[in-house]
Every structure is written in C-alpha cells, then in structure tokens.
Subunit: 325 residues, 2 copies
DNA sequence: CTGAAAGCGCTTACAG
DNA sequence: CTGAAAGCGCTTACAG
C-alpha cells in the first residue's frame, strides 16, 4: 500500500499541491477560499494523509525534535520527573522531546543524524568530537550534567548538596561525620562532586574530614560500613542518595544500634520509600520542576539564538528534615 | 555555515556523488579502487561530512529508529531497566531506540510523523485511529501494556502477579486477605488486573474475597487502611507494588502492630528499598531482562515480517520470599 | 486566489 | 570501475 502524498490530496480535491500545502500549514499570507480549504481538508482526512516529516525536514532543514541523551546508568526518579516535565514544557513551543537511553554500543552520531534534532540535551557528557559534529550540523548542544562544565545550561549544584547535608548535621551538634559512597562505579562522577561539597563544608566549619565508606544496596555491606564508622567515632552519616541512606539505616539496625540516636543519617532525593522508612529519612530534595523549567528555558533560548538566562540553581535544593537526622 | 553534502565530498575528492555514496555505504556490488576509496574517506573526514538522515529516509522510505511510547505516569524502575536492555538488544540489529515520555499535549501523530520510525512500541495503549494511521504509514505497531490486548507482543501477566501473591499468603495459612490499591488513578488499569488475579485466586482456594483499601504513599493513609483491615479480620495484605507495601508496613508500625506477626505484607517489583526495609519485603519480582529480550525479538520479527514468537510470559515472574510475609 | 517549477540531499538503476 | 540523471515528498518564491 503506497504512501498517500500531498499530490494525492491535490488530485482528490482538484487543486494543486501548493494549495494543499498552504491549507494544511495554515499559511498566513495565502488567502484560500473557505470552500477550497474545506475540500482540501476533507480530502486529506478521507485519504488519511499524513505529511512526510523526512521530506519536510529535508526541505526546511530543521525538525521540531529535541533529543535528550541519558547516561548509561539507571535513571533515578528525579530525572524521570524532569523528563516528563520537560516534555510538557517544550510541547508549548511545538517541540517534541525524545529520550535516548543508555548510550549503547551504537555511536551517538548515528542517532542524531537519524533524527536531525533541533537541539540535543545531554544528561551525560559527550565527547568533544561528537559535540563539535553536532554544532557543525546546526544542532544546539546543551549540557546539564556537572557543575563545572562550561557548556552546562543547568547543573544541579552537586557540591551544594553535600554542603547542605553537612550544615544540617553540624548544626545538630555532630562533629565526626561519615560519607556513604555508592558502590556503582558509573555514579562516581556525581558522587565525587557531592563528596567534595561535604569535604569543603567540613573544612569550613573546622570539623575533621569525613570518613568515606562504600555502601552497596544490601545489609551486609552497610553493616560493615557502619562498624568502620563507629570505630572511627562517627556519629552522623551523609549518604550519596536516599537508597544508600536506607542501606545505612538497615546497617545501623543490623548492628543493634539506632537511628538517629547512635548514628544520624541524611540522604538525597526525597524518594517515597524514605518518607515511609523507620525512622523517616531526613534528606535533601531536588525540585524536578525547577530543573525542567530551567532546561526548557535554556533550550528555547538556544533555539532563538538568545543567551542562556541565568538559572536559579540554588532554588532546586531544599532540606527536608524528618526523623533520621 | 552551510551543510557539508555528499557533493562537497565528491568535489573535494574528485569523484562523483555516486562513488561517494558507494564508498560511504560500503556498497557491496560496486568495486571501488582502494585508492579512490581512501581519497573519498579522507575528504569526508576532512570536511566533517555527515549524511543527512532526512534525505536518506526520504529516499529509502525507512529510518532505523524504534520509538517507545511511555504512559503518562512515572516510569518505574523495572521499565527503566527494560528500556536500557531493549536499547542494547536492538542496537545489535542496527536499530536505535528512542523513548517518548508522558504523552504530553502534543498529538502522538506529530511525533511518529516527525521521526518516521520503523516500529512503535507502546507501553501504553494508543487510540485505534493512531494505531491505524501508523500501520497505514508502514510502521510496525507493537503493544506491551496489558494482558488482554490482542496486539500485545509481550504483556507481563498482571493477573498472574496477583495469583502469586495470594498463593504465597494462602500457603502460609492466611485466610482473610487485604489488597492495597495505589491511590494514583493513572495506575488503575494495572491495579485492576492485579486485583483481578488476587480475586480469582482467592475464589479458587475458597477464601473470602479480599478487602480492598486505597493506600497513598504516606503513613496517615496507610494507618487508616490498616485499621480498616484489622477490623475486617485481615491478617495479610497483598500490595499493588513495593512502594505501596512499604506504606502498609509503615501503617502497621504506626498502629503499634508488627509485620508479619500481626499483618503479613507482600509487594511487587523487588526494589532495593524493599530489601533494606525492616522487615525486608517479600515480593514478586519481574525480570526486566526477559521482558526486554521478548520485546526485542518481537520487534525484530515484526520488521522481518515474521510472526511474533510466543514469549515465555510466565518466566518473567518470580516470588522472592523475605521477612514481611 | 491558485499553479508550474525548483530544490532540499540522498541512493540507485542505467549507461558507459 | 565511475558518471549523469531520476526521484523520494515537501515547501516556497515566482508567475499568473
């Protein structure tokens, strides 16, 4: 069954392809009689016509797609929400958001060439040659991954996350702090940034350096870490995220100790499971909506050739005090 | 800065566009001298040439994209993993996977027209007219959402999930069961299927019908539900998923009761937080790898025009017994 | 108000 | 072994 083209619609409605195009694209300048208009629309509907985006993109040199490239580790709940919101935000600007997961074995180039996006938003860093090639092809390249990236349009200030954790713990009187690192090596870049914030803030307050322990998402690993912290005199632990924090809580419990009495724990992300755990997790929440809007604004600005507006990066973070610290 | 085209490469290397195309596509039939070949490749590299996928798609009538359409509620951890794996699986077949989140305000048609995918995999049902239009455009339409869908290529047997939960609870001697439904209305379709499995299995075993309670992801809501269950004589609760199960556990605790002594709880998904909770959650795990491979196989079969192979749907599910039931 | 024609960049028979 | 040419389906000046 051959494709229905604008020529078919033209023939069916007895007009030229030009007119079909004008009608279907609601062309402003051209004045089409209401009668013709109606005829064309009816024919298009009858034939089930849908314009070829490939042809349109080829002709106009631009699609209306925004490609988001995710890192090759599992998307957390926050990023999920960011993508949902971003999709909604950009829809207002007639842009469709497409997400690519996990940087598989196929080179990124295959992908952006295949979709000809207007903009690519990286939630992970791409290689310099990839970025250059995309820019050469007229694609706006935006990056949101890490704070120091010069091309970053919006980076959640990861060091600030660590600072907030320490501030809360220190103000509660804790002096000897621990840091629970994720075992997953692909998280290392993020973890490093957060830890660096923890270190800085400890130093600034004259506290001893944090005692770092890797913590897997199982009780055994967490128990070992808790023992190490205890013997180092640690009374409060800042965790990479809520999941790791939950593991730490489980470890403390397994040692026959209690949270926050023996060891206080603070996480990051504010996941539902943290609200429901015993004790409920104190955490640093990231506002997905703020992130999504900032990225959407940056994308829109880039497409308009405008300078990226300064995003209120501090506003994303919020301390949520519950029972674990 | 104008686009570099194959004509530029041809000129730069002193050959025709035909030859450029042959070299770049590793055309089998055509014998190109090693010398020419090299010259073309060098010129392409020097110019930073990247072929226009729009033109290629227009010319050949097909792209190498597979579009996954997600429902408009947040992706769970299982689906996340499925997408990662699917991306990997299909990369072996030279296909790139693109994911669309959340069915925003833009009509789906805009999207598939804009990317001209080879296949669309729906993790949510689309309207009949959308599906028809896609099929008319030569796109393979696959659906994975719910068991009864005739177009479903691979549906996790949701009713079976409920059956497994009941079987475990019943074999542990429980007679009066509760079912914890998610408060989120967008989950209703899934929840309904699981609950139906619970009902069926209760009936089959001659147990009274399950007592259904909506449970929000907060302690207050869960506490109210637990009180209702207790006064109905319920001793074990099957929850929609692990998050809801965690809420139920929190509710039981808030009532001053214990899990599983007073109320046993079983979830679905096997999320890390469930492993770490106190007590550790008994749950029904879904194997994301099995799902991803089944979908990948189905997509490949559809593209080859082959009939979809029967997937081993039962193998996806596995009971994980821990301490909560 | 509407039509004929060019051209976006590519691939592929068809001739040499 | 390589080139000239057609055509995928669309939009948009340019003429009427």
């Amino acid at each position: 069954m051959p494709r229905v083209t604008s020529a078919d619609v033209a023939q069916e409605s007895g007009v030229s392809r030009t007119t079909v195009s004008y009608v279907l694209n609601d062309k402003h300048g051209a004045m089409i009689s209401a009668d013709t208009r109606e005829r064309v629309l009816a024919a298009a509907a009858r034939l089930g016509y849908s314009p070829s985006a490939a042809a349109r993109t080829l002709r106009s040199g631009r699609s209306d797609l925004v490609l988001c490239v995710l890192p090759n580790w599992t998307v957390g709940p926050v990023l999920d929400t960011v993508l949902d919101e971003l999709t909604r935000e950009l829809a207002d600007r007639q842009l469709s958001v497409l997400v690519h997961h996990g940087r598989g074995p196929r080179p990124l180039a295959e992908l952006w060439r295949a979709v000809t996006p207007r903009a690519v938003v990286g939630f992970t860093e791409f290689g310099a040659e990839d970025a250059d090639a995309m820019r050469r092809a007229g694609i706006q390249v935006l990056n949101t991954s890490l704070d120091e990236d010069p091309h970053a349009v919006f980076a959640v200030p990861q060091t600030r996350v660590g600072q907030l954790q320490v501030r809360h713990l220190a103000e509660a009187g804790h002096v000897h702090l621990g840091w629970a690192a994720p075992a997953e090596p692909r998280l290392a870049d993020f973890a490093e940034r957060r830890l660096s914030g923890v270190r800085t803030e400890c130093a600034r307050r004259g506290l001893p350096a944090p005692v770092v322990q890797d913590v897997d998402l199982d009780v055994g690993s967490a128990t070992a870490a808790v023992r190490a912290w205890r013997s180092a005199g640690v009374t409060a632990v800042a965790a990479y995220n809520d999941e790791v924090a939950l593991a730490v809580v489980a470890g403390v419990r397994a040692c026959g100790l209690s949270v926050p009495g023996d060891v206080a724990v603070i996480g990051v992300d504010d996941v539902p499971a943290g609200r429901l755990s015993d004790p409920a997790l104190t955490t640093v929440a990231q506002d997905a909506g703020v992130q999504a809007r900032a990225i959407a604004t940056a994308v829109a600005a880039a497409l308009d050739g405008a300078p990226a507006p300064a995003a209120d990066q501090a506003g994303v973070l919020r301390l949520v005090v519950r029972d674990s610290a």
